[in-house]
Symmetry: C2
Subunit: 738 residues, 2 copies
């Protein structure tokens, strides 16, 4: 099918679909209701309103090379039963929860939408004490449901077959959008005659229209008491990369529940629609001349492991690799959740706790343009859009190497029915040619020694596509006990239309708020903050946070030929405010989480440290509404006492929240954190000043931080890893077609 | 041969060797001369005094799997002739230079040692204008020679067959030590009866002794006018890891030329020799139980490329890979020198200049202990020890993956004769499972798009073992135009003996200057600074340095619902002081090198930026003698106008220098740098507070920075790279023995 025709057909079909879905799932029926019902649409809607997913309980067959492998992840989701206290809700459990909810008022009596439906994790002590031979703790579900009465936070006991707790949601702040919220919102303006007129006046064919649902943030009282969203649109004429063709200055304010157009701003019709030229990025559509150059110059290369990977994923979720064991699950909000992280100690022969739970808690992505169509772009991608919901199936061989294994996500749609996001997470062993440790003796000593050990790591990866942007999140486990958490940014910029097509037209004093990337296209400056929740349990739950500050000491006259040296001062944080950390290059510290009850053989406290790498700090005014909501980025590190209800740094109800329930607010309570079960929060940051290389799609930019043992082991725990020898390595030949 | 016997024999043989070498090569013959001459020793000495190297002109045969490969590096050094203006001196050229020098007074009339003998690179404009079909510019050698008269900097023209320039060295500061300086110095104290008596008094057998040559730094007038070195010793009884068994408090001050013991300090004979238990790290000597755990859990894994690598190394030194071309050579001081870095532009179809020359200019490693036996440990590893001289042959399959190719170094020994350091540099393509760029459409837009490109890079690596420490230096080239410079630290700590074997014995107020790592062993806190010389030539030699400062702008009341946003302010540096940069997290900037005469199609200045990652800053008092010598670490970035004589950040003559010829001094001249041929200097830093995991050998710690295109290309230059497809990838099976 030719590209444009295909896209148009797709749009029209989706449009029909989605209006139907709105009808079925919205608590408030849309006023203008022109649904088309056909048999196959109804069939689809029997299962779930989200029909754009083709991955129901029968995911596509795995590619051949993954078929007969012993480490294949269980994919029969229909029959799967949980085997670990932290296993996510199964298809059957989601269905059961839904049926319980359907007979529970007000859900039984009112239209409703399910915004969250996940495992209510058992109390930590139950999980820690559980052993595999014992039955699971009671299985419970946690649901956030929106009805005509507002939001409800419910706990459903699946053994007791009933709702055991129901709490109303807060006055301000709404739950995470459903996929159905987002998709239906993008099409809703088409029901508005004035909107259509505006589009046509811009010279754009309605079938070329692609719109995005943009969270509104919160900027004052007039935005309260209803779920609002802003819609901005693009032209997908002659390109799949519609993001590069913004209809600049056109913003529709929409009521997300009624789908009513509240306001249309159409301010910059003077700005031309940027051209489609050079925006395409799909390999099949590129001019062949573009890629011939690379095709012939890079020979096939692959990470090969013909004996198969060294890890297992037991019972679907427990990853066992080298000296590590942890529980891995997909989550609609956080994406990846890593739990019960345990490492084998070669000295004691025991398995030791490192971290109870680690996840991406929230993102904050403020754009740096205060003008009308841009000021509100201050995304919080987890709490508003669902970082896991946006994690699409990974592309085997490209998103992850050939030796990767994949895990599906099982989530609930807006109607409470389960759906499967296939291949949402991959797990693979990485050998990148790096060195775990080495030493060669030099001619100085004359000893003939050269001992080098290759570094092999285990990577857990997902990639979330929050509309234009793609976030690649890696948890990488090293055999030496280090965990590297890395975030890569790729995808497509959110750009702004401009009348300029060359910098020589721009008056010297005019602020473009970004960089001219192509004719009539500005890449607007923005930041990315990704805040991680790290419930460290170093050899047990009760830990302390220690700032090891490196301070210059000056020697006394005559004491030494040296005037100065660095000394490490240890400060144990007593309360939360002691642990609000901003990094300073000229006042450096290490940040340890220690177990004050455990010492090494030599009397050092056992610990892990958080090691920052390149990062950025938010410079926005703390009283700026977006920064108040994103106040969890005011410091790079925070430490709080463990509290079940404090997992989402921007609050549980982030959408249109005012910042009343963020990590920054909790930390101000200044609770004791010494020798307590503590949670460490770390924020990775990026300032992004776009450049032409980011057009039409961005090369990946990454940053990371490490969680690293510090006097946790008695000595180097990988002293014993063997070197590579030729006779062990794979025997390979080139593919016939390569 | 059993370990200890082997070591003892080795020591005795080496000892004999080295005393002989001292006799032959030192400008001042040692006073107590008990050389043993045998025929084979003399044979060896006919070639070069450095007999510990077994890699003469016939390096060991390459392993089988490297044999018949088209990309094999030329190894017939005896007959090799230069083919590029920047090619290092060949074996023949070094011999020729030596013969010219031997008839040049005062070398012809006095004992001498050759401290540097390398190519005198032709003037930059000659290199830039040279084309392959033309003859090379005149070949010249640059030599630094020490005679009884002091040091001499000489230029030798190999076509004219004569010395064309001779300049005396500075009054203070000595040339880089030769390997012979270092090795002979470690054995020299054995000629001193008092020294031997001291060792015996410590209860140590002389055959177990291993000593290290420690540069003295400079701490005052009394250390001037002779080449001094400090020797500290260890016991290698029952371990190859003698570094963990320091004879604490014993320091010998030695005259490096006369080998005369100037002073013996023996202060802490109360401190016991740490035990050898658990110090061994050689795989063959470890308790098999230690490594069985890992052996069985990690299946073989390899980067495989059965069609061979995609790069060529033309004429031995010009690397051609994907869209990159550059000249690569080993250097005795810098290690790796990358020159004439050029990238293919897919838009224009042309090759464009990026960097004229990049190298590791200097290292500064101050230890943070001001006491008697430690205060002077403030190493400058390039200018004192020779970062390239210390780069040992890489271990195939472990230092570099199986698909790597190797390059030998050809250097001059102290007598001016050439020797070959085989496999000193490796080059390989890396596929680590990473993603070059990606985008998947989410259900929000409903488009069925998932485009992902794997990231394949080219790595140039060397590993220098400066006695205990191992530095792994990678230059990694990405197809998107980014160059990542990464330094990994591994090897063995320099440790301090202590009487404590548990922290509970340490009085609360006592400063250990580090961490107790094992019984009686302290890992002393220290910093590492690695300063890179980056002669950027972005699309030509005349460039400017631009600081793009991100500053918070506050909106006026009523202007916007936002109170604040970030704006990029561009500051073009006029002179050197404008470009002395200390990083500030809360005052962030980008650092661009632009070509002010070139713009993109859209009118943006073409440029590259330096992107810092995790780093550390030196906090020492600027007036502290070590910091005065290491003053090039006072900022993280400096920019200077190109000047042939300013390549070594710590000065040309670093040994015992007083800091009078460092980058910090040059930069204070505040010369104009706008639209000039400029050099950017970047310092990578690490604070290292040792922990028990660093014992007995350290897991690698890495940090890096990037050199990255910013509006250099008109658009993403890797839009055209193809995705991986199954049919192109290698066909592998497990090795029979795996």
């Amino acid at each position: 099918m030719e590209g444009k025709t295909f896209l148009r057909s797709l749009c029209l079909i989706s449009s029909g679909f989605l209006l139907l879905l709105v009808f079925r799932s919205s608590p408030n029926f849309p006023s203008s209701n022109n649904t088309t019902t056909t048999k196959n649409l109804l069939d689809c809607s029997l299962n779930s309103p989200w029909c754009t997913s083709k991955n129901r309980f029968q995911p596509k067959p795995k590619p051949d090379y993954l078929q007969n492998h012993p480490n294949l992840i269980i994919t029969n989701h229909e029959t799967r039963i949980p085997t670990h206290p932290l296993d996510p809700l199964t298809v059957q459990e989601i269905k059961k929860t839904r049926s319980i909810l359907l007979s529970y008022p007000p859900i039984s009596t009112s239209p409703f939408t399910v915004h969250t439906l996940v495992l209510e994790e058992p109390d930590k002590h139950l999980v820690l004490n559980w052993v595999k031979t014992e039955p699971l703790p009671p299985r419970q579900a946690s649901a956030i449901i929106l009805t005509n009465d507002g939001s409800h936070v419910l706990t459903i006991d699946l053994d007791l077959n009933r709702v055991i707790r129901s709490v109303p949601g807060p006055v301000s702040g709404y739950p995470m959008m459903t996929i159905e919220d987002m998709t239906s919102a993008t099409w809703a303006p088409l029901s508005d005659v004035n909107f259509n007129r505006t589009i046509l006046a811009r010279g754009i064919d309605l079938v070329d229209l692609a719109c995005l649902p943009i969270s509104t943030g919160w900027f004052g009282k007039k935005e309260e008491k209803r779920r609002l969203i802003k819609i901005q649109c693009y032209s997908m004429q002659d390109t799949a990369n519609f993001y590069m063709r913004p209809i600049e200055g056109l913003t529709v304010l929409l009521d997300m529940d009624t789908k009513e157009v509240v306001e249309i701003s159409d301010n910059r019709s003077d700005i031309p629609l940027p051209k489609s030229a050079n925006t395409e990025y799909r390999y099949s559509r590129l001019n062949k001349n573009t890629h011939t150059y690379f095709k012939k110059l890079v020979n096939p290369i692959s990470i090969e492991q013909p004996k198969g990977p060294s890890f297992t994923i037991d019972d679907g979720h427990v990853v066992n690799w080298a000296n590590w064991v942890f529980h891995l699950k997909p989550d609609p909000r956080a994406g990846v959740v890593i739990s019960r992280v345990v490492i084998h100690d070669p000295d004691s022969g025991t398995a030791r706790n490192v971290m109870y739970k680690g996840l991406t808690s929230e993102l904050f992505v403020p754009y740096m343009d205060p003008t009308d169509a841009w000021y509100f772009k201050t995304y919080m991608d987890a709490g508003e859009y669902g970082f896991g919901l946006q994690a699409m199936p990974l592309d085997p061989l490209n998103d992850c190497p050939r030796n990767a294994r994949y895990m599906d996500g099982v989530f609930a749609a807006a109607d409470g029915m389960p759906f499967v996001r296939s291949n949402m997470i991959c797990v693979f062993e990485r050998y990148a040619g790096d060195i775990s440790w080495r030493h060669a003796e030099s001619p100085i000593t004359g000893l003939e020694i050269r001992e080098v050990r290759p570094k092999v790591t285990l990577v857990v990866r997902m990639a979330a596509s929050v509309a234009n942007y793609d976030y690649i999140v890696d948890w990488e486990f090293q055999t030496d006990g280090l965990i590297r958490v890395k975030v890569g940014l790729s995808g497509i910029l959110m750009v702004k239309g401009t009348s300029y097509d060359n910098m020589n037209q721009v008056p010297k004093e005019e602020d473009l708020y970004g960089t001219l990337l192509s004719e009539n296209v500005i890449g607007v400056i923005h930041d990315h903050y990704i805040t991680f929740y790290l419930d460290m349990d170093v050899d047990g739950s009760n830990n302390s946070f220690v700032k090891v500050n490196l301070v210059r000491e000056d020697t006394s006259p005559g004491e030494s030929p040296r005037r100065s040296y660095l000394k490490a001062h240890r400060h144990v944080a007593k309360t939360e405010k002691d642990a609000q950390i901003q990094f300073k290059l000229y006042d450096p510290s290490e940040f340890h989480v220690i177990n004050p009850s455990k010492e090494t053989r030599l009397g050092n406290p056992v610990g892990y440290k958080v090691v920052p790498a390149g990062t950025a700090a938010s410079l926005l005014d703390h009283k700026d509404p977006p920064q108040a909501r994103g106040a969890f980025t005011n410091n790079q590190i925070w430490v709080t006492p463990y509290n079940r209800s404090e997992q989402w740094a921007g609050g549980l109800f982030v959408y249109q929240s005012q910042g009343e329930d963020t990590l920054a607010v909790w930390s101000e309570k200044d609770r004791p954190i010494e020798n307590k079960d503590i949670v460490l929060w770390y924020t990775l940051g990026f300032h992004h000043v776009p450049c032409q290389e980011d057009f039409p799609i961005m090369p990946t930019v990454s940053s990371s931080f490490d969680i690293k043992p510090v006097n946790f082991f008695e000595s180097n725990p990988v002293l014993g890893i063997p070197p590579n020898v030729e006779n062990d390595l794979p025997v390979c030949k080139a593919a016939a077609s390569a």
